[in-house]
Every structure is written in C-alpha cells, then in structure tokens.
Symmetry: C2
Subunit: 320 residues, 2 copies
C-alpha cells in the first residue's frame, strides 16, 4: 500500500494526461476548468487503494478511477446550475464564468466521457463495471431529486434524510471502492463488502460536512459558516431540531432572512440545548464503526486495513 | 423486411414496456412525458431494419434501438432548456411544464438510462456498441456547441454549416444504422457503409427541415413557418443568401424584430431571386444519391434495398 498522497498524485497525473479535444473550445474548456479544481480526489484514491489492497496493481483500475472522478465533477457542475451556486472551491462556477447552456452541455459531455473512460481496458469486467457505475449514477440522480423535493417539505424525517444522503453522496464512495475490487478480480462478495465500507464512510463524511457547516472553523472550512441554517437546508441537525425543539424557535425562524447572524446564533443555540453536536458525533462514530467492521470481513493486509481505517477515522476528526 | 410502421410498432411497444421506477416522481415523470411524445422514431426503426436487412432477427437489436431513441429524446430535452424553447411537438417542453432543474436532472437520468439500455443483451458486441454510441454522443455535443457558437458569428461558411449538421443530427442516424449492423454480426466494413448511408440520409433530412421551415405548408409542417428567418438562424439558406445577396437586404434585416411578416417575406424573396429553393433541392438530391450509393455496396436483398431507398427518397418529398 502507498500513502494517500501517492495515490492522489497518480490520479492527478492521469487527469493531466487526459487528451481532450481542443475544439470546440466552448465545449471542452469548461471541462478542463472543472477538473482543474484541486478537489480532494477521495473517490479515485479509494478505487486505486481498494484495487491494491486486494493484491492487484492499482494501475489496473486507473481509467475507472478517473472515470468516477470525472462523473463526480459532472454532478457538481450540474448541481451548481440547479442550486444556482456562484462559487465552488473559491472559484466562479461554470455557469457563472460562462453561462447555463455551457454548463449543461459541458456536463453532458463529462457524463459521456466518464462512461468512455470507464470502458478503457475494462476487459472482461466491462459489463459489471457499467452495471455498478450506471446503477450508482441513477441512485445519485434520485438522491438529488429527493434533496430538491425536501426544500418544499416541512415533514422530512431523519430516515428520509439518511436515505437521501446515502443515494446522493454515499453510494459513489461505495462504487469507487467496489470498482477497485472489481478491477482487482476480487470475488463478488468482496466487492460488495468494499462497497458497503464506502457507503458507511460516505455517510460519516456527509454528516461531518453537515456538522462543519454550522460548527466548523471559518478559517479552515473554506466557506462561510451557517449557510445551511440560512438556507433552511434540511440537514440531520435541522430535522432533529424541528422534531425536538418544544420552544418553536427553529420553526419560527424558517424562511426568515432579515438578520442572518442572529438566525444562525438562535438556531445554533437550539442545537446546543438539544446536545445535537454530541449526538451527531455519536452517529458519525457509529457509521465509522460500521465501515471498520466491513474491513474486518475483508482479506486484506494489516497495512491496507490501517489505510482504510485511518480514512474512516479522519472523516470524524477532519475540520475541512 | 417489414413495413416502416411495423418496426415503429415494435419500438413503441418496447418503449411502453420499459419499467422505470415510479419514485421519486419528480425525476421519472418527466422521462415518461418526454418519451410519450409521438415522435417519428426514425432512429430506432433504422436500427431494427438494418439488423433485419443483414439477415438477423431485428429483435436482437431492440434494446440498442430503444437506447438510441432514449438518447435522442435526452438531447431534445436538454436542447430545449439551452434554446429556452416553450413548445415541442405541440406540448409544453419539460422545463416549461416543470422547471429547469427538473429538465436538467431528468435529462441526465435519460442519458445514463440510454447507456444502460445499450448494454442489455449486447453480448460480445458491448465494447464496440459503447464505442460507437459514446463517440456519436460526443459528436452531437460538439455539433450543438458549434450551433450555439454560430449564433454569435456572421462569417459562418457553408462548409462549417454542413459539418455542424453532420455532427449535431446526421451521425445519430448513422449510429442507428451502424448499431443495427453491429448487432446483426455484420463485418466492420458493412457497419461503416450502413453508418455512411445514415449520415447521408441525415444530411438530406436536415436540409429538407431547413427548407420546410421557410417553404413548408403551415397546415402539415406542424409549426409556424419562417421561425428560422425570424431568429436569424444560420441555415444553409441564410448562409448562401448572406454570401450572394448583392442588394444587402438580408444582412440589413439581421436582428430586426419589428415586423416579423415583412421580414419573412423580404428574406424569402431574396432566397427566391437566388434560386435557393431549387439549389437546396439539388443538394438534397445529391445526398440522397450518396445514401443510395452506400446501399449499392451492401449485400442486402432487393426488398431491403427498396426499404432504405424509399426512406431516403421520402426525405426529399416529405412535407412534415
């Protein structure tokens, strides 16, 4: 096994070596711009590492790893249009820098390109790789649709929320792990177990994201704190507070926009009074434990186990 | 060989039998709505007919035929958002009936679903089917980008226009034919020849569309006549007129919106004075001839040859 940063370097090298056509520039420049974003590259690293953990050369899965990163960036591009988001990782989003038409069309091209990359040197695994990849993609669209539906509902349950984040964000981490296992010729049960590790890791990650959006350090988090509260975003924290806040404070502040700082403070103090920061961390720890239990069922080296365990533990400890 | 309408019925049956999930309805209802549009289904019919013409059971290519129709409808859905079109085949477009977010996300789901359908029972042809399909998809995005780029240019040449419509519309007809040949286990050269037939058919079709937009019968054409002229759309007719109109009438009317009927009449009379209606039909006939020449190089029955020749000849004679 290698260090996270070595896999990251391999992914970044492969991304720089992608030979996209140059013309028409209106189609391809936004793709280069999107990929040049300096993201965490967590998903392709998971693919390479899972492949190596199961005894294969990680380079056997490099095209599939890059395909998954391409797909992930496509979803961000289209989500930013749907959410009308202006900024992504400190830079203007594609539809702001160019326009909506460009963002839609370049995103479509990224989705097709990701399928093309997935097929490169997939060999006998092509049909199964496509099934995993396309099935995951459909889950992600379903998750995005539920997320949008939740904006207009005030009765979203915690169970519905967990299912939404499982679909919208976690299954792609599962897919990344399962894809590495598939490309390593691992048996189906091993692929499924690695997939489940990734899903649990993804749930822990998303809940920590929700936590950091309210409780993060503005200097390390990279974006303004309290955005979810201001947008009445139905996160685990807000849904729990809506259920348990007998003072009615949280519900009375939904839709309010006149004093953002006061709204954040008031909602946060309800969260605190309900012990939600501690309780969300208990939940995150439970998902980390589930992820680690999946590792225990895999025949991998102690070194590989440590690699994936550390990733899971870092999802709780990270502050950005 | 069967009649066009029998293949059409087979395609419509397969589309009705698609088992899309029902939830979340916000994602899947727009897909059902889009497919239920009563389109010509020319592309999937080409796939089934090419497969049968080469001696195979057309049902061997039914999933690939439906995949191509699904893909085609996905491009219409996203194009309508990009063009801000309100009506498609007499009904509100998806982004008008729902909203932009729904149109973007449902379109993405249709693209992924089309790839899934393409893979169904593709057997040994999976890798090649994907290559043909994804390569065609990239061409279509490039064509759409060129089409959008042309809106802001006044120096588009006829050669650039022909390349744009080849990419944006013709290669998908080529792909539909080539896919049928592939699924019939035909040799690569046969697939290429059938692909070329489809491309020539597509060019003839698109030029006839351009002609009908100005010269069609409003009662049979199904939409208002003169839309391309009003929108200064860079069609073959407008580009030729911009090159050859020494009176400067056409250029002086670009961008003018105050008297639509007068603009249509004035531009049309320049087209007439330059004999463009006759000249575009000479060009269409040349593409029809090229399509028929491709048929002559294929080992197909006289009956099959007649089927595909009639399709090409109809592209010139049709009035809708």
């Amino acid at each position: 096994m290698k260090e996270f940063n070595e896999y990251l370097q391999t992914v970044n090298d492969a991304l720089s070596n992608l030979r996209l056509p140059e013309q028409p520039a209106g189609l391809y420049s936004p793709i280069v711009y999107t990929l040049d974003c300096g993201g965490k590259r967590l998903r392709p690293v998971l693919t390479l590492a899972a492949c190596e953990a199961l005894g294969a050369d990680p380079m056997r899965s490099i095209h599939q790893a890059v395909a998954i990163e391409m797909f992930h960036n496509f979803t961000l591009l289209h989500d930013d249009v749907m959410d009308n988001a202006d900024v992504r990782r400190g830079r203007p989003t594609v539809h702001k820098k160019w326009n909506n038409e460009t963002a839609i069309l370049s995103g479509d091209a990224m989705l097709t390109t990701s399928t093309m990359l997935l097929s490169v040197k997939a060999g006998d695994h092509l049909a199964q790789a496509l099934e995993l990849f396309n099935g995951t993609a459909m889950n992600i669209y379903e998750g995005q649709q539920l997320d949008m539906d939740f904006e207009n509902r005030s009765d979203v349950t915690v169970e519905e929320y967990m299912e939404m984040i499982r679909l919208k964000t976690s299954v792609l981490l599962g897919c990344a792990c399962g894809m590495g296992a598939l490309m390593a010729d691992a048996p189906f049960e091993t692929q499924v177990k690695f997939f489940e590790y990734g899903v649990n890791l993804g749930l822990a990650f998303q809940l920590q994201d929700d936590y950091l959006d309210t409780y993060g350090n503005p200097e390390t988090f990279g974006k303004a704190i309290g955005g979810d509260i201001l947008n009445d975003k139905k996160t685990w924290l807000l849904i729990m507070a809506m259920n348990e806040d007998t003072t009615g404070t949280v519900k009375s502040l939904l839709g309010s926009t006149d004093n953002p700082a006061a709204k954040i403070e008031a909602v946060k103090s309800v969260y605190n009074s309900l012990n939600l920061p501690e309780r969300i961390h208990e939940l995150i720890s439970a998902y980390v434990d589930s992820a680690i239990k999946c590792l225990d069922l895999l025949e991998i080296s102690p070194e590989a186990r440590t690699f994936f365990m550390d990733l899971a533990l870092n999802s709780v400890n990270r502050d950005k």
